[in-house]
């Protein structure tokens, strides 16, 4: 659970122990953040709102992957496949049976759980690279199934989904979407934080640390691994379902290996082992291409540069990932912690042990 960062806070009962926001500072920061988040849709342009919505959807997926890889230590390269599974379930249900979203969303979660179980079975025998590769293989198989469905049903440009209706109002306005997605992302983050404080979370952390020791302590290792996959996959599939509803359609081309790499980059750049890292990483990776475009637009050169802009995005993404891996292995969270410690410890300085 989050620790107080300054002295003078005493816990006087068990309830205090369990609170997520423990100090006045944390409560104040949370309140300010909430107010800013509520004000944002009122002042932002439609383009910025769309970016924010994309970030919120990415947060759900990144949190799921962080739980699986960052906390439980199970490497998974099948993330896009799981999102595709959730999205296609939603698409198929919406198209074939016209199911409303409050059936399709949980159904996608259930399908995600099932496929997550399948993805998780190899983890009982494999670790590290081999596990990653098995998830990669499963990813390709899921995508292939999606393509077959598309072609069999003659949907060459994907499955179109009607916008979901919430309490009678159709979710089309980006501001309504922002509110709905904010609630979803907030729920996902809270769920993750609470899960990590529970037995399951502690079992995962033990699993990640030293597996034989965890087994010796009596933690059911196989159960913990499978539960990690199942829970993370459910969340991922739901994020895929949200993605499908937000975009209004599903197409197998949207779920490429590059999407998996982007999510893995989110948790690496954000900082492994931290939910805040998942959120920061999701925001960074989603906004990165637009930042590059804006930066390049500032440079002199004009129209002739714009065909270069597009390829620069790709190269820059790879470069940034390499730079983070080489020089900032703790990611954005590491930078944030250094910054925060500087303020907290001022006028003293702390050099972290290398």
């Amino acid at each position: 659970m989050p620790q107080p960062h300054s002295s003078g806070y005493f816990r006087t009962d068990y309830a205090d122990d369990w609170r997520l926001l423990q100090t006045r500072g944390q409560r104040g920061a949370a309140a300010v953040g909430l107010v800013l988040a509520c004000v944002f849709p009122l002042v932002a342009s439609a383009f910025l709102l769309d970016l924010a919505n994309q970030v919120l959807i990415a947060v759900v997926g990144a949190v799921a992957l962080m739980l699986l890889t960052g906390y439980a230590g199970q490497v998974s390269l099948g993330h896009a496949g799981l999102m595709a599974a959730g999205a296609f379930t939603t698409g198929i249900l919406a198209r074939e049976t016209g199911a409303p979203f409050w059936i399709a969303l949980p159904a996608s979660g259930a399908v995600g759980a099932l496929i997550g179980f399948l993805f998780g079975l190899p983890s009982l025998r494999l670790r590290g690279l081999y596990l990653a590769v098995s998830t990669l293989a499963l990813h390709f198989i899921v995508i292939h199934a999606g393509q077959e469905y598309e072609t069999r049903r003659g949907l060459s440009s994907g499955v179109v989904i009607d916008p979901p209706s919430l309490f009678g109002a159709e979710l089309v306005d980006p501001r309504l979407w922002y509110a709905a997605l904010f609630v979803c992302a907030g729920a996902a983050v809270l769920f993750a934080l609470n899960l990590l404080r529970s037995r399951t979370g502690r079992a995962w952390r033990a699993l990640h640390g030293r597996e034989p020791v965890a087994e010796a302590l009596g933690i059911p290792v196989a159960g913990a691994k499978v539960s990690a996959f199942v829970i993370a996959s459910t969340l991922t599939a739901m994020s895929g379902s949200l993605f499908a509803y937000y975009r209004g359609f599903v197409s197998s081309e949207a779920f490429s290996l590059f999407l998996t790499i982007q999510y893995v980059a989110m948790i690496i750049i954000g900082g492994m082992g931290s939910i805040l890292g998942a959120v920061l990483g999701a925001a960074f990776v989603t906004l990165f291409p637009y930042l590059i475009e804006m930066a390049l637009a500032q440079l002199p050169g004009g129209a002739s540069m714009s065909s270069l802009v597009f390829a620069v995005n790709y190269a820059a993404f790879g470069l940034v990932m390499i730079l983070f891996l080489l020089f900032e292995p703790q990611g954005l969270v590491g930078i944030w912690h250094r910054l925060r410690n500087w303020f907290l410890l001022w006028p003293f300085r702390q050099r972290p042990l290398k």
Partner: protein, 389 residues
Amino acid sequence: MKRRILSLLSAAAFAAAVAPGVNAQNAYVVGVTAAMTGPAAGTYAPVMDALRAYIDHVNGKGGVNGRQIQLIIADDQGEPSRAAANAKKLLNQDKVVLLINSSLSSTYAPVVADSKRAGVPLLFAGAACPKETFPPADPLQFCSTAFGATFDSRAALDFIKGQTKEPVRLGLAAMAIPLSRGEIDFAEGLARQVGMTPVDKQITPPPTPDYTPFATKLKDANPNWVWAWSPWISQVRTFEAMRRLGWNGQYLAWAHLNAEEDLARIKDPGLFVIGSNAFFSDDLPIHAEIRAVTHRANLKHPVSFLAEGFVAGLVIETAMKGAAQPTAQAVTASMNNLKVDLKGLRGGPLEWTKDNHFRTRQYYRVWRWEPSAGAVRRVQDWVAVDVKQ
């Protein structure tokens, strides 16, 4: 006194901020979401680069109706989410009066939805024409791309039938994308109706190291003609693999951007291409103009790839000419009753009506390499096909 200076200054600042807006309102703002990078870029980037060169050329000559055409190109890398974000930005922030999509068909659905909501016409240029542009057409979707599903197969099978008196054993080749597979499935059914025997249908996955296994299967079925309708790589590599296996039949493929160059490279008289865009070997005045314009723009693509982009440019120029005001409604009205003189780039003018946003007539030519002449030669001149309901 201070207050007065302050208010004067703020008024001046306000005016300065608004003034460029007034200027921009005077241009026709056109937005593009295209696959400029990413795996599909080879098909779409040349089209958009040529379009940009042409629009710059038009603007240099004074623009249209005294206004400039402001072209904003956004890259979507062939990804639907990026295309959706691009569409939102172009429609809501840049306030475009015409949106262009030149990307994979998976990007269509969100772009269509967004443009419908904004009431802005959507032009597919260089990208496959969705069936909503065929009559009866969706009010806001238009298409200037050369190829069109079902019409191409009909014209191809007509050509094959006209080429030979003996019974046709037809092989079919597609790529494992829904659009290509759908068209080849349609061609299979059509072949039976016109009395040909479809003997085998091969579907190749997009990137495969070796086309020989697929070609082996196709060759073993012993077709005398093969019809392929898919991205150029798949068409030409299947053909090359079949030739290497010793197959001697005739192969008809759709003439994509690379066709003219590749026919001259492969030098095989059995490879026929059917297409709607004239080849640069015709050396029409418009081709010289294309060479000049794109040479000035310093484009990296071979010049024979650029006809499609120029067609799009001519279409946009004519559409804007007919729009008195730079608004979406005026542009849509102009496009609903459009006749574009393509100066020989296609077999005839491109005409749109309220119901037909594809074109009223589609023209086809067929070319192949003639060893005796040592050049690419026309086998069939423009055949007009009426596009009806």
